[in-house]
Symmetry: C2
Subunit: 161 residues, 2 copies
């Protein structure tokens, strides 16, 4: 007998729609930010995260974890953004392996300058089209998926990387 569980009609439809939506949205936001800020969306997200953080600084590892990217990817990204003068590395006093990424004044200004355009793009693509109810549904669904893939925020699983 065949013990394999395939996707139902509804699940297939949802999966196709999800793939199309995420592919289009990623592409759309990458283009918007590449045009208006000269960097891909993930790079902008890094600056944005730092801009909301006390001291506008964070340990590499923590920034990588919050952003859900590998340390390696972050390392390359920081090197590039440092070249733009938007970020700076400082060594960590409490742990000499550590590096602290600091958003420069120029980097902060860049976020301030480009945030309105980015928020407008996100609104236009998503939240202006969804009801409040759907916005909450999206949040809940996203949390369920994210939690399944890395444990609910702080569950340290050794088999993960």
């Amino acid at each position: 007998m065949n013990t394999m569980r395939w996707l139902t009609e509804d699940e297939q439809a949802a999966w196709r729609a999800y793939l199309q939506a995420t592919t289009l949205l990623e592409d759309h936001l990458d283009r918007q930010l590449q045009r208006d800020a000269g960097m891909p969306h993930m790079y902008y997200a890094l600056l944005s995260t730092l801009s909301e953080t006390p001291g506008r600084r964070m340990r590499m590892t923590e920034l990588a974890e919050r952003s859900k990217i590998t340390r390696s990817r972050l390392s390359h990204a920081v090197t590039r953004l440092e070249g733009n003068g938007w970020l700076r590395r400082e060594s960590c006093p409490s742990d000499r392996r550590g590096q602290i990424v600091v958003l420069t004044e120029a980097g902060y200004d860049e976020v301030v300058r480009t945030a309105p355009g980015h928020v407008t793009a996100v609104r236009a693509a998503i939240f202006d089209r969804l009801s409040d109810e759907q916005t909450r549904q999206l949040a809940e669904i996203s949390r369920i998926i994210a939690d399944g893939l890395h444990g609910p925020e702080g569950a340290d699983v050794p088999w993960r990387r």
Copy 2:
């Protein structure tokens, strides 16, 4: 006065959750398929789409549009997959500019071999965790976002790309 509309608390929460979920999921599926099939998720999706198509073949442009990727990206992808022997290019009889991508027997076998593992990964990450109601919500939300970004399946907008 400031006429800019920022995101509400709920919208910010949804956006953060969405970004984390999609980043983690993409990464997870890319790894799963890279390990089990030796290709990234998008490449697998191309083979999978072709496998469900009459004659297991499609025009480049149509495959690119269904997959929501650029022709350029598809061109590179097909070159790579052709190198693996999973795809083959044929010239189009009705339009001599055209190319038709054909899934080879080996390519079809590869999809058959790796589909179960992939479906299991998708189920485990998403549908085993969502209620039927949430699955329908995800489909609806995804459709709304996708439609906003490229017109509802067939609306040909000249200003796009």
